[in-house]
């Protein structure tokens, strides 16, 4: 029970790595920086593995296991402990974050080998791991908020890693500011939680809400405010705009922070707060609608992008939408399941894309690639596997999770046919744009200058993480496989205590299982011929037809629906609309009102004015110092006479 008693070790390891590299790494050779960075994260992963072993020996009444270290702050009834907790949800998140994080650290040692600021990169990356682990292990909303903002900070630092490039610095700022809008809602939500429950501690809140639930309107407000934070952090409509720009950062960062872990923090938070959300049906519907619309919407943008990382970015936004759709229809475990499989295959897609970019010497435009299949076979095969996974082809990880989400949207307790349809169409689009990416990149004739670009497979420390992740992209979803033949979804079963402990009492026990189970074979056939699979395969064939069979077809199609094509290519002009509606008016007000009027007029006016008053009154008063003795005497006499008169007047009154 060593790690359970000392949960802080898991946090301390990456923090120590970040501190050591940040303070001393500048003068160290790359191998030393590597061993500190990768070593600390690997040790953290081993600590998590040991934690899981110890966790499995706990009895159900010991879960969630809370480690309370010290009282952080007290103000009247407001008390915050620095407390960490472990339950099944935490275990899943810890394993995903630490394992994927470890692989990406290893990968980065290859990818960043020729970059400046090597130690700085790994220091930030370790710091990110620290904050992300804090976020998932927090036992109250305030500690969670520390992790929440901390990962935002690291995201900002890493997007702007090449800060001499203006676009990268701008993208970092954009990410920071846009997520801050959501965080404002989150902060207000936390305050409202405290005002309602007199506590920010998860256990206390959940117990309180299940025994003595406040009015539904209050719960709905709280949930929607908290969800606002999730919208910002997890890049959902309408605050998704920062994520595509975040691709300015180094590719391992895109993989770790902007695909596998940080952006899923919003999903994790919604799942963590499930006792509140489950009692606020309106908020649930909002979550589901935002998720489904985002899933569909950003998939359409992904159709026409030509930058390999941008396609993946919009794909990430879309997949996060699926996770929220799952949470919104009450299938939290499924949402977390998709979060995990997505971390595997999307992390892999980004790392493989990084490997492609590495091979092409920095080129990101897919229109200038092509025919890379035979030249970088490891990258090709791993990326192809990840694509099959994200497209939902049966047998791969993404199939199990995405199928389960759409199943929940279709026939779960909060089913909604419109949202299901959006999800299914989005799944088809996903399949299309992902295979489009693969076909454009790896198939066809090379569209680059073969004499100039020396295409080469990436080194071992980059390909090994790819292979491991490819393995997980296939088998990572098989926990749910028995369900296909009418059995148990082990993943759901594992997480069930988290989501049922404080679930609202249903008047009639939901006996969905009462449906007579069909024979396993029928179930299997049913699952393999469902709509998600059909649209997935359809997407594959359409992409094949467009980009391999008839390479001219895309151009002709773009010509015939020019308006739609330009709209999609320009991402629905959302950035331009935001610029026109928010950024430019703000700039105008800042320049013309706040700067020229308030700052220059009022604030500078007061400061300069008081200085001028002092100077000019001094200038006038100094003329009294004429040096003429008789004038001094006159002043003394006037003063004496005046003072005497004053005394007389005052004495006269007595």
């Amino acid at each position: 029970m060593f790690i359970l008693d000392h949960l802080w070790i898991i946090l301390a390891l990456p923090l120590a790595g970040a501190a050591i590299n940040g303070l001393f790494g500048k003068r160290w050779p790359q191998t030393a920086v590597n061993s500190v960075a990768v070593g600390s994260v690997t040790l953290a992963f081993l600590a998590v593995a040991e934690l899981v072993r110890e966790f499995s020996q706990l009895t159900p009444d010991q879960i969630p296991f809370v480690g309370n270290y010290f009282t952080w702050m007290v103000a009247g009834p407001f008390k915050v402990d620095f407390a960490l907790q472990v339950d099944q949800l935490t275990v899943v998140m810890l394993l995903t974050v630490s394992f994927v994080g470890m692989l990406i650290h290893v990968y980065s040692t290859g990818y960043m080998a020729h970059e400046g600021g090597y130690y700085r990169f790994f220091s930030y990356l370790n710091l990110f791991m620290f904050f992300m682990l804090t976020l998932v292990m927090a036992a109250n909303l305030i500690v969670m908020f520390v992790g929440w903002e901390g990962v935002g900070l690291c995201s900002y630092l890493l997007i702007g890693f090449w800060f001499l490039k203006k676009s990268a610095a701008d993208a970092g700022k954009k990410a920071f500011i846009v997520t801050r809008i959501g965080d404002f809602g989150f902060t207000v939500g936390v305050l409202l939680v405290f005002a309602t429950f007199q506590s920010v501690d998860f256990g206390t809140i959940f117990k309180s809400v299940s025994q003595n639930a406040p009015a539904e309107a209050i719960l709905t407000t709280i949930c929607i405010l908290l969800f606002t934070g999730a919208i910002g952090k997890s890049a959902q409509l309408p605050l998704y705009v920062w994520l595509p720009d975040a691709m300015e950062g180094p590719t391992p960062v895109s993989a770790l922070i902007h695909a596998a872990t940080m952006v899923t923090a919003g999903v994790y938070m919604v799942a963590r707060m499930n006792p509140l959300f489950s009692r606020a049906p309106v908020a649930m519907l909002v979550v589901a609608i935002v998720g489904a619309v985002t899933a569909f919407y950003s998939a359409t943008i992904g159709l026409v992008q030509t930058d390999i990382k941008k396609v993946l970015a919009y794909s990430t936004v879309s997949q996060l939408g699926y996770m929220f759709l799952a949470c919104g229809v009450g299938a939290y475990a499924t949402g977390i399941f998709h979060l995990m499989t997505h971390a595997f295959f999307k992390g892999l897609l980004f790392l493989a894309a990084g490997s492609v970019i590495h091979a092409m010497g920095g080129e990101q435009d897919m229109m200038k690639m092509g025919g890379l299949r035979t030249k970088i076979p490891v990258t090709y095969w791993t990326m192809f596997i990840a694509t099959l996974a994200i497209a939902g082809i049966p047998g791969f990880a993404g199939f199990f999770s995405k199928d389960a989400i759409l199943e929940a949207a279709k026939s779960g307790p909060n089913a909604n046919p419109v949202l299901w349809l959006l999800g299914v169409v989005g799944a088809g689009l996903t399949s299309f744009y992902m295979f489009r990416l693969v076909f454009l990149t790896f198939f066809g004739k090379p569209r680059y200058d073969e004499h100039k670009v020396h295409v080469h497979e990436s080194p071992k420390n980059m390909t090994v993480p790819l292979i491991i992740l490819a393995f997980l992209s296939i088998f990572g979803g098989w926990f749910a496989a028995p369900k296909l033949v009418g059995g148990i979804d082990y993943f759901e079963k594992f997480l069930a205590p988290v989501f049922s402990a404080y679930a609202p009492q249903v008047a009639e026990p939901a006996v969905i299982i009462a449906e007579p189970a069909a024979s396993p074979a029928v179930e299997l056939v049913h699952a393999l011929t469902g709509w998600p699979v059909i649209v997935g395969v359809l997407g594959l064939f359409v992409a094949w037809w467009f980009y391999i069979k008839n390479p001219d077809a895309p151009k002709r199609l773009a010509q015939s629906v020019r308006g739609l094509y330009t709209l999609l290519l320009n991402k629905y002009y959302v950035d331009e609309i935001y610029a026109a509606l928010i950024v430019r008016p703000l700039l105008w007000i800042s320049t013309n009102v706040l700067w020229h009027v308030v700052d220059e007029g009022a604030i500078d006016g007061v400061v300069n004015g008081s200085a001028r008053v002092a100077r000019e009154s001094g200038g006038e008063l100094r003329k009294l110092q004429s040096g003429n003795e008789r004038s001094y005497a006159t002043w003394i006499i006037i003063g004496a006479v005046g003072f005497t008169c004053l005394l007389l007047v005052l004495w006269g009154k007595r």
Partner: protein
Amino acid sequence: MSIPISYYLVLSAVLFGLGVVAFVFKRNIITIFMSIELMLNAVNLAFVAFARAHNQLDGLVFVFFVIVVAAAEAAVGLAIIIMLAQNRQSLNVERVNQLKF
């Protein structure tokens, strides 16, 4: 029948007023110096008059203090006047106005 105290006070006030007027309007530094002495002695007169009227010694003691201070002042003041006269070849205070802003 003794002389009423108001007579003394009026005389004292007149002398003091003359001293003030002379102090402000005269240019010769020695005259100004003398006007200061005049003001001091006007105050001395008032002190003595009050001491006698109230039949107390306090006023008389104060007069001695004033005379001592005036003597010290005369010693220092005359030394300054001699230095001024040597440096400026003049006793006009209008020409002693260097100590300003």
